[in-house]
């Protein structure tokens, strides 16, 4: 059976790494004799292999290689020792304590903020209250008598209950 080019090229790839069975190799060679495109492909593959070779001189790390590695290891061990100060068994308890404190501080801040913004609270800023009142009256003064604004004004003045 004749070998197709796609299959032949897969087999060339295997042949480069000496992975081809002798019988398949014979069939590949027969195909190659009749197919200049696959012969070119094979030549190209050998040319590529040669092209991507790495210069031998670049295959050793610098003399400081181990020293830098040692520094990295020492640094990691120091970090590990620091974490060892907090035993693993205590970590969930510490997490719960942190969440609890977060809630407490949020609540305290909320109470503090609420006190500051509550204008009706005793001692609240009187000028703010006066400003709101003036604003309300001025805003609704020129509105038609049957408008929602005018009704709201009457409500503010205690006419509607």
């Amino acid at each position: 059976m004749k070998m197709r080019c796609k299959k032949a090229r897969k087999n060339i790839s295997l042949a480069i790494d000496s992975r081809l069975q002798p019988t398949v190799l014979e069939r590949l060679q027969a195909h190659m004799r009749a197919c200049p495109a696959c012969r070119n492909w094979q030549d190209e593959q050998f040319w590529l292999l040669d092209l991507i070779k790495t210069p031998q001189a670049l295959q050793q790390p610098s003399p400081a290689f181990y020293a830098v590695l040692q520094d990295k290891i020492n640094e990691s061990q120091a970090r590990k020792r620091l974490f060892a100060l907090y035993p693993t068994s205590l970590r969930p308890a510490m997490l719960r304590a942190a969440i609890f404190l977060l809630f407490v501080f949020s609540a305290l801040f909320g109470i503090f903020l609420g006190g500051r913004l509550d204008t009706a609270a005793p001692g609240a800023d009187a000028s703010l209250s006066a400003f709101s009142q003036a604003l309300n009256l001025e805003t609704f003064a020129d509105l038609p008598a049957d408008s929602f604004g005018a009704v709201y004004e009457r409500l503010l003045q205690g006419e509607l209950r």
């Binding site: 090229r9 897969k10 790839s13 295997l14 480069i16 790494d17 992975r19 492909w41 190209e44 593959q45 040319w47 590529l48 292999l49 092209l51 991507i52 070779k53 790495t54 670049l58 295959q59 050793q60 790390p61 610098s62 290689f65 181990y66 830098v68 590695l69 040692q70 990295k72 290891i73 990691s76």
Partner: protein, 188 residues
């Protein structure tokens, strides 16, 4: 004579797992050339390769106790190295293109014509290799430069032998696609 020099890799790794820095140093000495070579072929930049090789040995130190001896130490080390290289590529995927040109040009300007051509050729080849999908490139390196058999590559990359065959075929096919136009233009 250093007593560690006669010990097998597995023994040295067991000592490393127990925190023996001398044993670890011996292990690094034995394999630093191979690991650096693999990293260099993968990233094709000396500085990056050295950093990658250090990361690989750092992982050897860190994960020494996880070695169960189910595979040979060499396979375990290569697996660690290959995964570190592949992850590194993943991490750097969004980084801008590395600039090997700076050093290369500095050397090139000082060199004569042929030297410049070699440098330029190397840059083009590096670009083509870096354009390959990470696993194809790694399979190619392991097969053609590390002298690993398909079975060994399969064990290192944790894939089947058939998958290794496919990866290698596709790598070669892609490399030819990238470099053929340059060859035809006479740039290589």
């Amino acid at each position: 004579m250093d007593e560690n020099a006669e010990k097998a890799d597995d023994e040295l790794l067991a000592l490393t797992a127990a925190g023996d820095e001398v044993a670890f140093c011996e292990l690094v000495g034995r394999y630093q050339g191979k690991v650096f070579g693999l990293a260099y072929r993968y990233v094709r930049d000396r500085q990056d390769a050295e950093e990658l090789a250090q990361e690989i040995f750092f992982k050897v130190w860190k994960y020494a106790r996880t070695f169960k001896g189910r595979s040979a130490f060499g396979t375990w080390l290569y697996r660690l190295a290959v995964n570190t290289c592949l992850n590194d590529r993943q991490k750097k995927k969004n980084d801008p293109e590395p600039l090997p040109l700076l050093g290369d040009f500095a050397t090139a300007t000082a060199a004569v014509g042929t030297e410049i051509l070699i440098q330029e050729r190397r840059i083009l080849v590096n670009k083509a290799l870096n354009a390959l999908p990470a696993r194809q490139k790694m399979a190619l390196i392991l097969a053609n430069f590390e002298g690993k058999s398909y079975e060994e590559i399969a064990a290192i990359m944790e894939i089947s032998v058939a998958a290794v065959e496919t990866l290698l075929f596709r790598a070669r096919q892609n490399l030819a696609v990238f470099l053929r136009p340059l060859k035809n233009k006479g740039e290589l």
